[in-house]
């Protein structure tokens, strides 16, 4: 296998979280319908619409259709920043009941606190449900989009606390226990199509539906990624290296979407380390 990744000097130019948002945004095709989740998953479609794919229609579970954020980046899927140029307002039941359950979304973005090798997601608690070590937001619309959405992308920080062998709580369905188990449940959506992290991207094996390493971010290495994954991560025999963010992408991210660097950390120095990290206070 050819040597890829490992160019940590690139992290002087951008952060791993910026790479994650950029990589996720590149999965969006123009003139498609994109469902936008809360938290960090708000950013990829905003970035894509402002750069490569101006023709996308974004749908937010509050019932906003067709809005592009005006001025500042939206704080949530219900923010006024998304309510000045929408093409339609409807309700939550329309977005998550009608649209999600009837394949109206071409691509969806979801955040996660934990994801397992079959793309099942926990965003509810860390620890025991009745006495959680950390209580997180819970499903919101994530369970509904995961059950119904045609294809969805999970955004998650890459370490052993987030990519785990076993979820503390099963919030949203991925490929269940692999194989055809999702189809057997009769869920209408096609399931997760990618897990994009700050170290690389995983995609499901077409047969076993187990997520395997398919892309490595340019500063990262296969060994880094395997060491930071909570299961024995298999590696595709055609692993590719993702392209670093372009100046335009970084420009939009830093000057329009995450001006304070609160979400992608671009204003803070990034530790160049491949040792497992501590959990952030909260992830969603």
């Amino acid at each position: 296998m050819m040597q890829i990744g490992g160019r940590t000097e690139l992290l002087k130019k951008f952060t791993p979280m910026e790479m994650m948002v950029v990589e996720a945004s590149r999965l969006i095709h123009d003139n498609t319908t994109v469902f936008v989740g809360v938290g960090l998953s708000l950013l990829p479609s905003q970035l894509a619409q402002r750069t490569r794919t101006p023709g996308i229609v974004q749908v937010f579970e509050s019932g906003i259709i067709g809005a592009s954020a005006t001025g500042r980046a939206p704080w949530g899927v219900d923010d006024t920043a998304l309510q000045a140029n929408a093409t339609a307002f409807c309700d939550l039941m329309s977005a998550l009941g009608w649209m999600a359950m009837n394949n109206k979304f071409d691509l969806c973005f979801l955040g996660a606190a934990q994801v397992d090798k079959y793309g099942n997601v926990n965003s509810t608690v860390i620890g025991d449900y009745a006495r959680p070590r950390s209580r997180l937001p819970g499903s919101g619309g994530a369970h509904d989009v995961a059950a119904g959405g045609q294809r969805y992308v999970v955004l998650v920080r890459h370490d052993k606390l987030h990519l785990v062998e076993r979820l503390d709580y099963r919030t949203s369905p991925g490929f269940i226990i692999g194989g055809v188990s999702r189809e057997e449940l009769g869920l209408p959506g096609g399931g997760p199509s990618a897990i994009v992290t700050d170290l690389g991207s995983l995609t499901p094996d077409p047969k076993t539906r187990e997520f395997i390493l398919s892309r490595v971010h340019p500063y990262s290495t296969i060994t880094d990624i395997r060491n930071n994954t909570g299961w024995d991560l298999k590696v595709s025999d055609r692993v590719e290296e993702s392209l670093p963010p372009t100046d335009e992408e970084l420009n939009v991210l830093r000057n329009e979407l995450d001006v304070e660097g609160e979400f992608t950390g671009w204003k803070k120095p990034t530790p160049e380390t491949s040792t497992p990290r501590h959990p952030p206070a909260g992830v969603h």
Partner: protein, 330 residues
Amino acid sequence: MSKILPIDQAVLKYVHDRESIAFAGMPLMRKPVVFAREILRQRKAGKLKVNDLFLAGGTISFGSALLVGAGVVDSMISQFIGFERAGLNYVVKRSIEEGIPRRIRVEDESNLTFNLRCLAGSLNLPFIPSISGVWGDLNTPGLSTHGAHEYRKYIQLEDPFGTGRHVALIQSVKPDLTVIEAPMADENGNTFFLGAVGHDDLLSRAGRHVVVVADHIVSGELSRRFPNMVAVPSIGVDAVVQWPLAAWPTCCPALYDPDIPHIKLFNESARKDEFEDYLDWFVYSYKDPDDYLHMIGPDVEKLSKTQSASLIEPFRKYLLKEESLEVRVK
């Protein structure tokens, strides 16, 4: 018939201990926060005895957090706890994780399963089938006193009509009281939303009683001119309360933006054990709506310069001037 009530009277009439309340709105949008404040104010004044409220869902955001932080909530159904990109909800978190000021019981739903429970409630059905809930731990009961894993919350069923499809049967919810926040309502209770609807109309239909907290009272002419615009017809409304910036620090599209710095300040107050001080400053301190606006301060103007203001332009001439309202809290 006018249904306008001063906020204190609306709280005293419709809030009862050990009953369920649903606050409509999304995490950062149209939360009837001023109504939650008034519950605590009336309690502190000794006029309202509430110790064990049941929050029947809606997204658990700001008003819910005030009640949880003040220790008057026993249990809740939750679709989502938090302020989205503005942060986790530390008041509710510490209650669940550390039992401060008391441990509350939580039952999780997804946005859709909770909405379906309300739809079933609005149709007076005992349950409703759902695709969401077929898989996963949403099925874990959280309000059970029998221990979390002893029985299943939903009933799994294969379509009795023989398609082979699986559904989860989920039970209906009818909150004793639904409180919704709206930019505009008329004195009869016809209620208008501007911007995303969220689940506010649905929650109102599920509620046994419904109180609307409106930023503006509009002339009755508005519903006659634009009957399609009425999201909640007067038939479904018991009382209308007028209060400016009623959803602050969440946003009311068309009128004001979310006050993110204040939400962060609120979160910090819980993390630094200054929640009681927060209540003194921002819940118990004001006397009337003018005083309330004064408390929020110069940010009122900043927040009101929202880009979504264009939404209200066609309706501005129907807004009644505040002086013409007979009822204001004095």
